[in-house]
Symmetry: C2
Subunit: 192 residues, 2 copies
DNA sequence: TATTGTTATACTCTATAACTATA
DNA sequence: TATAGTTATAGAGTATAACAATA
């Protein structure tokens, strides 16, 4: 168990890494915003999957996933074939063009990181990855396990959802993204 | 120097920590979005400062800083007094109300992190903070030093700025946020 | 009735560009 | 001419809610 000053510093750092993310986003290929890049990356690493699975890996709501997927599908980078087992579902898979875009993507980010992290050791990078993965796990697992207690200390009202003073509904609670933490296994890449 | 698979995984994790950030944002006090929280936190930790300094610490453009600052100023959480040394500048400082909000803020985030990271050791949290800080440094320092070379491998055009195919202008390059990495010293808190 | 996915709407954060005031 | 800060505008990401189709 750590202490308060540490937690505040951690929160600060979490906020500040946004600048690094934006730096990475700036070098992405044309018409490939960060959301699209994440979709391609996850499909490349885990192979074909359904929307719901992708939303889980992205750790965002499925409505958001739907938009990202629509974007990459419009550009021909993925295809959505019907799921024979469940007609409500669609199976997402990379197209050859999508694979090529993913290659480009990967090359660019690797290039930037190679330049920026030239003085990092292999172990340091690995440790950062491990700790960030565990951080996600500590949040995601908790969210899946505990039904948001945190009731014992509220002073002012939470910000909650925008203009939703009524609190989360049952359905929205069920839809809350619950990341599965694929990354615990080291980049296994299951090609379809 | 690390290898490619690691870099891709790092990029993925950087993208995924967004979910943790959003979890933290959800418990913020009323009318205090993440941007406002960051302003209050930095003013609390470093004491009064000018806009430009704050923008540096936030690692965002000054126009963004200006909006966040306007938001917290409208709520009476900070005040902007004229800088006697430079009439263009304004000195930002927390008001008592702002201090109170910051307390509330701090309590909430600490509470959440205490709950979520109950099985983390002090050393682990500290290590994560240290590595994230260094990550920011590796990016920020580089940006301040090298004038964006990365020219030797472009295949497709970069996404650059939205609809700005003309590349960065001199002024925009000069305005690019260059974080100073305050966090290297352990939460010194210089109270105005 | 519950679940999968889509779409409409709204909110936050960010950057660029144009502008004012001061150095 | 250059710098500090503000404001207008636009783009990207996200969530909630309502909806359609299927289980």
């Amino acid at each position: 168990m750590a202490e308060q000053a540490q937690f505040e510093e951690l929160a600060r750092q979490l906020s500040a890494v946004g600048a690094v993310k934006r730096d990475l986003a700036r070098i992405l290929p044309h018409e490939c915003p960060a959301g699209s890049a994440a979709v391609l990356t996850l499909l490349g690493r885990h192979g074909s999957m359904r929307m719901s699975k992708l939303a889980e890996l992205l750790a965002v709501d499925m409505s958001v996933t739907s938009r990202h997927v629509a974007h990459v599908a419009e550009r021909g980078w993925i295809e959505r074939s019907p799921d024979p087992a469940d007609k409500r579902s669609r199976i997402l898979h990379l197209t050859p063009t999508g694979e090529a875009t993913l290659q480009d993507l990967s090359r660019r980010s690797t290039e930037l990181l190679t330049e920026r992290l030239s003085d990092w050791s292999d172990e340091e990078v690995e440790q950062l990855i491990r700790l960030m993965t565990r951080l996600r796990a500590s949040f995601g697992d908790c969210r899946a396990t505990a039904p948001h207690p945190r009731s014992a200390a509220g002073t002012a009202p939470d910000r909650g959802s925008p203009k939703a003073t009524t609190g989360p509904t049952l359905t929205s609670a069920a839809r809350a993204p619950t990341p599965v933490l694929d990354a615990l296994e080291p980049t296994t890449r299951t090609p379809a």
